[in-house]
Structures are given as C-alpha cells and as structure tokens.
C-alpha cells in the first residue's frame, strides 16, 4: 500500500462499546428528600438512612459492584473512594457503598462482597440490595453512581464521581468532593447533577 501527500485518512477499526449516556429515567431528583432505606452490610450491621438523617449527617451513597472495571478504577487502580471517605469522614461524613446486583448476577452475593472489601481494603461498608429496590428508588444506573445527601435529608448531588469517563484515568474535577465542600460549608452545590458513567447496575428482571 502506498501513502501519498494526498492520502489523508487512516482507518482504525475497533470493537467498542459504550458507557452510559445522558437520559436516565426517574432518577431520584436533586433537591428532593433522599428515599429512605434500611439495608444490611456484609458484616451483618443494619444501616437505616432515617437514623443518619435524624442525626443531620452528610451521607454519600456509592453504587458498587466489585467486578466492574469502573469500580476497579476507583477502588483498586486509584484510591478515589477510600481517600475521599477518609478525608470527609474526619468532618463527619458517612460513606455507604450499595450493591444492587441481583442474586446470580456479576458481583452479587455476601461472600463476593466480603472478599472484595478485603481485596480493595475498603473502609466503607458494602450494603446489599439484591432486590434492587433501593437502587431503583434512587434511579441508580451505573457502578459507580454517586449521591450526596445533605444534613436536611435532601439529595444535594447525583451523578458521576468525576469528569473522566474512561475506565483508567482520573478526572480533573471530582464532583463529589466539590459537592461535599459546598454542603459542609452550607453553600449551594454548583454542579448538582451530572450523567453517571460506569457499568450498568446488574438488576434482576
């Protein structure tokens, strides 16, 4: 094959597939009360959102699946989630990971998630939501899909963790950190709603 000065295009062929686009239905709306839930974590501890809201705690919910490449990005290749949980934990922020994968789906089940917490050295609990009821109440679509709940119990931020939608590199802006800074300072959140990116939550039929 020859290449001339006028030959101006190359073709790259690749199998691709894609992350998760803008339109998400019935997502729990920012500004509205965060849907209440009571879920049990992998250590058997029960977490009731109502108790945390009653105590006026700021809460971060992270939709989680231990076998999703985007979760590996933020829990293994980088320490995004644990670093933020530690930094804002000092200011009283509660961080809960929630797995809404149905039984038998990728990343589901007590055993797999117990092991993942050790593998990824996770400080936050992983709450199991195999029925998917909590995930659907929030409109959680991807792992990760992030929600920040303000001390008044309303959703202050919903969406992506950061602005780099690849499974490898970190973004320049961490939306959750920015939202937490604003909420803790009693200020409005500048970017309160972004399209989440990641693997789809593995809901049951």
């Amino acid at each position: 094959m020859s290449l001339t000065r006028t030959y101006r295009q190359a073709v790259a062929a690749a199998l691709v597939l894609f992350c998760f686009a803008p339109g998400l239905a019935r997502a729990a709306a920012v500004g509205e009360p965060a849907p209440d839930f009571t879920l049990t974590d992998t250590d058997g501890k029960v977490h009731a959102l109502a108790d945390l809201v009653g105590a006026q705690r700021v809460v971060v919910l992270e939709w989680f699946n231990p076998d999703c490449p985007f979760i590996l990005k933020h829990h293994q290749h980088h320490r995004t989630m644990d670093d933020l949980a530690a930094r804002y934990g000092e200011q009283g922020v509660i961080w809960l990971a929630i797995n809404s994968a149905a039984a038998g789906k990728q990343g589901a089940g007590l055993e797999r998630n117990q092991k993942a917490r050790q593998e990824y050295k996770m400080s936050m609990p992983v709450l199991l939501d195999e029925s998917g009821a909590v995930g659907k109440a929030y409109g959680a679509k991807t792992t990760p899909h992030m929600f920040v709940i303000a001390p008044d119990g309303t959703i202050a931020y919903a969406g992506a963790i950061d602005d780099d939608r690849s499974p490898s590199t970190l973004g320049k802006t961490n939306y959750v950190a920015d939202a937490l800074d604003a909420v803790l300072a009693g200020k409005p959140v500048a970017v309160e709603d972004t399209p989440a990116y990641g693997c789809s939550v593995k809901y049951g039929p």
Partner: protein, 199 residues
C-alpha cells in the same frame, strides 16, 4: 486511541457510526454500538513528507466491551506505508471499501430542504419527519437534557415530542435522530437545534 505518529503527522477525533438504543434490566437506557465497529480517524499528513521514505503509523487502542458484564481490552496496531509520488500511487480498493461502508453508517448533516422539521419552545421539542414510521432521538452528552428520555426518546410514526429540562433552555439539543422508513430503511441525521435563549 493513543497515536504514535512520525513528526508532522496528526490524528483527529474519531468519527463513530450512529449508535442504537438499548434498554437493559432496571430501565437502564443506553445508546450503543455493537458487532464490528469502524471509526474513521482523519489523519493530517505534513506537506513536506518526502517520497521514498517509509512511514509507520502506530496506535494503542483501549476499549471496554459490555454485554452482561463489562470486559476491558487493549491492543496495539502498526502499519508501515511507503511514500511514493502521486503518479505512482495505486488504488487501495479494500481500504476504500471499508471507508465507504463506515461513512454510510455515520450520521449525516441535514440537507436543505431538511427532511426533518423541528419546533422548540417552552421546554418542549417536537420533531417531525414526514413519512417516517418510527423516530429515535439519541442526544449527545453535551446536549440539553430530556426529562424522561426512556419514555419519550422514541416514538412510532413521524412525530416525536420531548420534554426538556427547563434549566437547559440555554443549551442546544445535539444528537442523532434515527428515522425509520418503510422497508426497514433507517437514516441517521445529525441534529443541532439551537437553544431557546442565548446561552
């Protein structure tokens, strides 16, 4: 795609084929590409490239393929071309065929007169493509957002009505409109509908 190119060469942004709509369990709406996908990357060749030398183009490709689960992958491709004077350039029939097929699957800009009519006001967008049997709107990430794209993003017939989020009135609606006509003929148009108010 990460390119490793000789001095003076530059690769542009890939142009992807039109996606299609996919709804997974839990009402997760996505716009996907499947099967074999060809993206066309414009490559700028420096004017001073000399005939008689070999040029090697290298590209590192990383991807993620999802079905029930997402699987990352990576690969490296390299190809060496001999630079020849224009009069000695042969025809690359296989390459031309791949390019033509890829371009046929890309969304096209709307011609004039436009086969698609639109009206946008009071946070409502109405699209009409006379004669269509089904319309599917797939907005880009930077587009003004729909209130409920899952339920309003596709419509039987030649008319699609979409409620837009009021806070996005200052953003254009940008994306791909698939127009399904009789006989399973689908045309993909690139839409760029101006904002309701100056941004």
């Amino acid at each position: 795609l990460v390119w490793e190119l000789p001095a003076g060469f530059a690769a542009g942004e890939p142009v992807w084929p039109a996606p299609h709509r996919h709804v997974a369990a839990g009402e997760i709406l996505d716009h996907v590409l499947d099967g074999e996908v060809v993206a066309v990357v414009p490559l700028t060749v420096p004017a001073e490239v000399a005939a008689g030398v070999d040029v090697t183009l290298r590209c590192r490709v990383e991807w993620l393929i999802c079905h029930d689960v997402c699987v990352p992958g990576r690969s490296e491709a390299a190809r060496t071309f001999a630079v020849v004077p224009p009069e000695q350039a042969g025809e690359d029939r296989d390459g031309a065929r791949i390019l033509a097929a890829a371009r046929a699957r890309q969304p096209r800009p709307l011609p004039a007169p436009s086969p698609v009519r639109w009206r946008r006001n009071d946070n409502i967008l109405v699209l009409e493509a006379p004669g269509a049997r089904r319309l599917v709107l797939m907005p880009q990430r930077d587009s003004a957002r729909a209130v409920d794209l899952l339920r309003q993003g596709e419509a039987d017939g030649d008319r699609l009505r979409l409620d837009l989020r009021p806070e996005d009135a200052g953003r254009p609606v940008a994306g791909v409109l698939a127009v399904h006509a009789a006989g399973d003929v689908v045309t993909h148009w690139q839409l760029d509908i101006p904002s309701e108010e100056p941004p």
